[in-house]
């Protein structure tokens, strides 16, 4: 059976990893290649590189970063950020990404998902959904875009279904309420989305301790993504995998 995946996420701007990564023994903690190698050595099942550059120059630097990481990395790499048309995805796949994530652009133009899935296959098409609880509700979420600035009013559950119907092969589901809070993944959100789609779901937003990862997997996630707990050096991927294995999850060690 498939193992549960652990996926460190790195934010990259203009070719450098940002969001303070603190590793001991690494000469340069901002270098994407060095960090990718470190996480692979720790047992990461795949990596996500999110391009947070704001300029066209930054985007082209990011493609260069992807190809440099690819040359050194033997596990899958997903990248996203700034993908507006299928040709943007093509450039990233050619550079060496294995999957491409789309977010804001897919919400305004859902055809983008079909374009990528038809051209490169669903297994390449990751739809990132940022979901936030609707004010006053405990069980309905709306899609937010533009890094949380724009609340769309669009149902996250309906959007997940539509994304899969259009060819998404995987959903990267981030709880906007939990992201960066370290208060655990939004389990109700995970349950709600995993009930309605059959593609794998990557849980994101809120991980702080091993129990959070186990909870997310029990709530229906196929993979768990985290940033701060790895970058701050709280846990290695290997330590979390040991824990999950003791909790009887299928884990690749």
């Amino acid at each position: 059976m498939l193992t549960s995946r652990i996926i460190p996420c790195l934010d990259v701007r203009d070719g450098r990893v940002v969001k303070g990564v603190r590793f001991q023994g690494l000469k340069d903690a901002g270098c994407p290649v060095e960090l990718a190698k470190e996480y692979e050595a720790q047992g990461a099942d795949e990596l996500v590189f999110l391009d947070v550059s704001a300029t066209p120059e930054g985007r082209s630097t990011h493609r260069h970063t992807v190809s440099e990481v690819r040359a050194q990395l033997s596990i899958p790499m997903t990248t996203g950020g700034g993908v507006r048309v299928a040709d943007d995805a093509a450039l990233l796949l050619e550079a060496g990404a294995d999957k491409v994530g789309v977010n804001t652009a897919a919400v305004s133009n859902p055809q983008l998902i079909s374009d990528i899935a038809n051209r490169f296959g669903s297994q390449c098409a990751v739809v990132a959904i940022d979901a936030a609880l609707i004010d006053g509700s405990e069980d309905s979420w709306e899609v937010v875009t533009q890094s949380g600035k724009n609340r769309t009013g669009k149902s996250a559950i309906a959007w997940a279904k539509e994304a899969v119907d259009r060819g998404a092969g995987e959903i990267l589901l981030t709880s906007w309420d939990r992201d960066g809070t370290r208060s655990g993944y939004d389990l109700a959100l995970l349950r709600a989305i995993s009930d309605v789609v059959n593609v794998p779901i990557i849980a994101s937003g809120g991980a702080n301790e091993p129990l959070h990862l186990a909870d997310a997997l029990r709530a229906g996630a196929d993979a768990v993504l985290a940033a701060s707990i790895f970058h701050e050096g709280d846990y290695t991927v290997g330590q979390l995998k040991e824990y999950l294995r003791k909790e009887k999850f299928a884990i690749r060690l």
Partner: protein
Amino acid sequence: MSSSVAIVRTGVANTASMVAGLRRVGADPQLCEDAETVRTAPYVVLPGVGTFGAGIASLKRMGVDEALKERIQSGLPTLAVCVGHQLLFQQSEESPEAEGLNIIEGSIQGFPPEVTCPQLGWNLVTAPKGARIFESGYAYFANSFRALHADPDWKMATADHGGEFIAGLERGAVVTAQFHPELSGPWGLSFFTRWLEVGRGRSS
């Protein structure tokens, strides 16, 4: 001297990971799209492509389908990955109108509805007895369709996702992988290395 590996340029396939993986084990990968190279290269890789139908159409357009078939039937070192592995069969549910290379009897089918699809992630591959290239271990898969049966002259590696399916096949220096060795960490790299070793002396 490093082994020269011709990767068939199927058009939509992402070859960057394959090139990088083969380089990491010391091979010298080159992209190719002509029948002569497919016939004579010491090693040939047929990488994963978008769909079964697009894959076979692309091989026919390049005119390498017959060369590939001859090469595999005469046992020259060949590695077919993901949809490449599936193309060796007769047909696939994914593209019912398309005809595969027809080297292995049988058809490719979708996963049962109770498991996630696509299968994305690491699954345990169990190597067949007497295998020289396959070893048991975790491999990275990214597929929505899979083969269930193959002729007994192929040694069959298996994995389980909603029931047992074919993770790969081995016959001499010809090997197929439903998984992606180029994305399967150190295990995948050692898979490449064993294929290159078994192929040494077998190549033309």
